[in-house]
């Protein structure tokens, strides 16, 4: 799966969980750019992504992400 497909699937997860159909994510998107993406919804998004790709992230990995691009890279490493 290439980066564009991963980003598109992650966007689907975000749209479903945040209930925001028009949401557009880019590699450079951060939590500051998405209104309802905060520390509380973050973990629900992480679990959503883990379930979608059937993978498991490490704690340190999750805490180190700075933007959506780094999230995609973590997914890509595990596929």
């Amino acid at each position: 799966m290439n980066q564009t497909e991963i980003l598109s699937q992650i966007t689907d997860v975000f749209r479903e969980i945040l209930d925001e159909d028009a949401l557009v994510l880019e590699a450079s998107t951060t939590a500051q750019d998405v209104e309802d993406w905060d520390s509380l919804t973050h973990i629900v998004l992480v679990v959503g992504i883990e379930e979608r790709f059937k993978i498991k992230f490490g704690s340190k990995e999750i805490l180190a992400w700075k933007n959506v691009g780094e999230m995609c890279a973590s997914v890509s490493e595990k596929l």
Binding site: E35, S39, H42, I43, V46, S59, I62, L63, A64, K66
Partner: protein, 482 residues
């Protein structure tokens, strides 16, 4: 020295003159001035612990460099763990050690053992809860790869000891603050004016409201068994307002002083009494502490427990709120306060409404709808009730306070009600202004766009006159003790 004293005005005047002197001092000299001023400020508060502040600054500066240098090896983890354990160890020793000895001795006595341990009467260093959190987050952020270790010791010391925030916060994270110290701060008129207005707003709420009602509240608390039910209810409701206007007032003043010196400091409050749920309240109350704990306690726990679903999140939030409670001090009252708030989150996590941020939709007159207003009142009452524990010296007194509230004297006139008419009037004006301007960082932001010069100066002078008239001697800030 407190921010609302004449001594501080003099101290700040001298610093200001040197900091922005016509000789245009370079950024690193400005940092030297900040460090000297901060240590003078700290030593005037309690000189005995200035060496502790300096020693821990040196140590964490070294640890930051060590973590960065050894990144990718086991040593980076070891140094980071050492920094976290040492920081928590300092807090435990100075803030909680006596409490542990006392509680453990009581437990042993409770099972019939004869113990004669006495506490060590450890003195809590000024600002330890604030600067320790800054030091821990500095090393952790480097280890997480989100921050470069600084090689500028003076700048780092200025961050740790920054005098407007050293004794009561806000707790600034290093990522946002350290970069501000690496360039020269030139005098920015608009920012300085905004800072002065914010100081005035903070000082007005502290003097006219918090200090105005402090005497009545203290009087009621000094004799709980002798107070009427109505006085206890009145004091409980007033204390919620006192704590808010005292601490938010201080935070506005600290942020304002920071702005005059060219800094952006983290916000601490965002009109918390307009929250319509407990979750929303905690997003708007003491934000620099809650966001620190969210980052370093709640998030890691939540990640750890994520396979447990909602139960995992409930557990993480209860632990997080217990830490919030205990951060305030070593007393079972703070433990129960934290537990109470943690448990309040459970229904909303279970229903799923925890994640939803509801936006307030005022009616056509710009007022909250009856439903929203009812929720705001409900949240306020829950907060005021929990703050009985926060204010009480021990659990027994808190229980007596609550019992006393429901006595037949509940229908009598509360103590101090007539004398507090002035403060109650200021309170009504204060909340009306807050409501109207709740989208701004503080209500005086952008005042120049709506008020002409004469109107603005009339407002400033009017407030200054009221502050002078109502200032009944120096009142310390409540959060200084934490």
């Amino acid at each position: 020295m407190v921010l609302n004293s004449l001594g501080f005005v003099l101290f700040f005047g001298v610093l200001f003159a040197l900091y922005y002197s016509p000789f245009k001092p370079k950024w690193n000299f400005q940092n030297v001035l900040l460090v000297v001023a901060s240590y003078v400020f700290y030593a005037l508060g309690d000189w005995r612990f200035a060496p502790l502040l300096l020693g821990s600054t040196v140590l964490y500066f070294g640890l930051g460099l060590a973590v960065q240098k050894s990144e990718g090896t086991k040593w980076a983890i070891r140094y980071t763990n050492f920094a976290v354990v040492l920081g928590i160890g300092l807090l435990i020793y100075f803030k909680y050690f006596d409490f542990f000895i006392d509680s453990f001795a009581s437990l042993l006595r409770g099972v019939g053992l004869d113990v004669s341990w006495t506490t060590l009467n450890i003195i809590v260093p000024l600002g330890i809860s604030y600067f320790t959190f800054k030091l821990i987050s500095y090393v952790v952020e480097i280890h997480r790869g989100k921050l470069e270790a600084t090689h500028d010791f003076v700048g780092f010391s200025a961050y740790v000891s920054f005098f407007p925030t050293i004794v009561s916060g806000p707790i600034d994270k290093p990522n946002g603050f350290l970069p501000q110290l690496s360039e020269r701060r030139s005098f920015n008129y608009a920012q300085a004016v905004d800072g002065c207005r914010q100081i005035l707003w903070g000082l007005a709420q502290k003097t006219l409201i918090a200090d105005g009602i402090a005497g009545t509240i203290s009087h009621v608390w000094s004799d709980v068994p002798g107070a009427s039910g109505s006085s206890l209810v009145f004091a409980a409701l007033l204390f919620a307002v006192q704590l808010y206007t005292d601490f938010a007032g201080y935070s506005h003043m600290a942020i304002g002083v920071g702005k005059v010196l060219g800094f952006r400091i983290a916000s601490n409050f965002q009109y918390p009494f307009f929250a319509t749920s407990i979750a929303e309240f905690w997003r708007k109350w003491h934000m620099s502490l809650t966001s620190w704990l969210t980052e370093y306690v709640f998030m890691p726990l939540n990640i750890k427990f994520r396979n447990l679903g909602k139960k995992g999140m409930m557990l993480a939030i209860v632990i997080n709120l217990l830490v919030v409670g205990m951060w305030h001090g070593a007393n079972w009252t703070f433990f129960v306060f934290g537990l109470f708030h943690g448990l309040l989150f459970i229904p909303s996590i279970s229903k799923g409404s925890f994640f939803k941020k509801k936006k307030l939709k005022p009616n056509k007159w710009g007022l909250p709808t009856p439903k929203d207003f009812g929720k705001m009142v409900g949240v306020f009452l829950l907060i005021a009730a929990s703050l009985i524990l926060f204010r009480a010296p021990d659990i027994q007194t808190a229980a007596d306070f609550v019992k006393g509230m429901f006595s037949p004297s509940l229908l009598s006139l509360p103590y101090g009600a007539m004398e507090l008419m002035g403060a109650l009037f200021f309170m009504a004006v204060f909340f009306a202004v807050e409501w109207k301007l709740r989208k701004k960082e503080h209500p005086f932001v952008g005042l120049q766009d709506k008020w002409n010069t004469a109107g603005r100066w009339a407002l400033y002078l009017g407030l200054v006159v009221l502050i002078i008239l109502y200032s009944g001697g120096e009142q310390e800030f409540i959060y200084q003790q934490f």
